[in-house]
Symmetry: C2
Subunit: 166 residues, 2 copies
């Protein structure tokens, strides 16, 4: 069998790997889910998601550092000013990913009575699901019609990666 | 301010949380990316993705246990039989998620010369991106038109979670 052509290309600057440096850590998407659900305050998130202070603090800092969340001040009557967390515009761009995760989870990880959460089309009320479409406007229903290809930033694999392959 | 209604519902059986028990671990999506890219053999994956044997073994086992990957035997001339890894049908259902991650990454985590990878429409050649659509057939372009809602499996939050909220 011939070697897969992907081995000719470096994974070093793969944008999916970089996104997963953020989202591929335990509880990061869970914290994001809380904010998307309107749970924006530290104590609410901590109790609702069942996270430790330390983990929650770390994940919120990470999401703010990546520009996915921003801090916004609020003050309850008689209390000092505190910070709550809101999605940035970049954060809102994660909706297709979150919708895809909710749909995949609904199909494979729900209880017998159905998924705990659904993403709803505001106003219409129907559940939102992910669809794939290409830049030429074709709808792509079969994942087998999608194939990864080197992008404009692809770099040849160096030695020590695929380069030393026999 | 009134408490967010999400606090009335338990996060315990949230399907997104359960999916992230798999995908929200370091290197899981990276391993998935390798297989999607046609890099199916242990040694190739290890070198191409730059993972340790131990991490790669662990993540492959996890992906097989979840039914996202399956093992398939192969034999190179003069060698003993080995196993390679392939996507299951369930694994193919992760394409909308992977397409969404690749698109988000292309926009926010690519080098100046562009993303290292693109998802291509086979035959047509155009880049595939994620679109949101509701069950009534409406295309949803603005994430602000999507709102999470309790699904059929939603459970009221117990005490100790949001239940003990003042």
């Amino acid at each position: 069998m011939e070697a897969p052509t992907a081995l000719d290309w470096s994974t070093e600057n793969c944008q999916v790997g970089r996104v997963m440096d953020l989202l591929g850590r335990p509880s990061v998407v869970v914290v994001l889910r809380e904010v998307v659900n309107g749970v924006r305050r530290f104590e609410d998130m901590r109790r609702h998601a069942g996270l430790s202070r330390q983990v929650l603090t770390d994940r919120l800092t990470l999401l703010v550092d990546h520009g996915v969340l921003r801090r916004a001040p609020y003050r309850d009557e008689g209390s000092r000013e505190r910070q709550e967390y809101r999605l940035t515009d970049k954060g809102f761009e994660l909706y297709p990913t979150l919708v895809a995760l909710a749909a995949f989870g609904a199909r494979w990880y729900a209880d017998p009575d159905g998924p705990a959460t659904r993403m709803e089309h505001r106003g219409c009320g129907a559940t939102v699901h992910p669809v794939m479409e290409c830049a030429h406007g074709h709808r792509v229903d079969d994942p087998r019609d999608v194939t990864p290809a080197p992008g404009p930033g692809a770099r040849p694999a160096g030695r020590g990666a695929a380069g030393d392959r026999a």
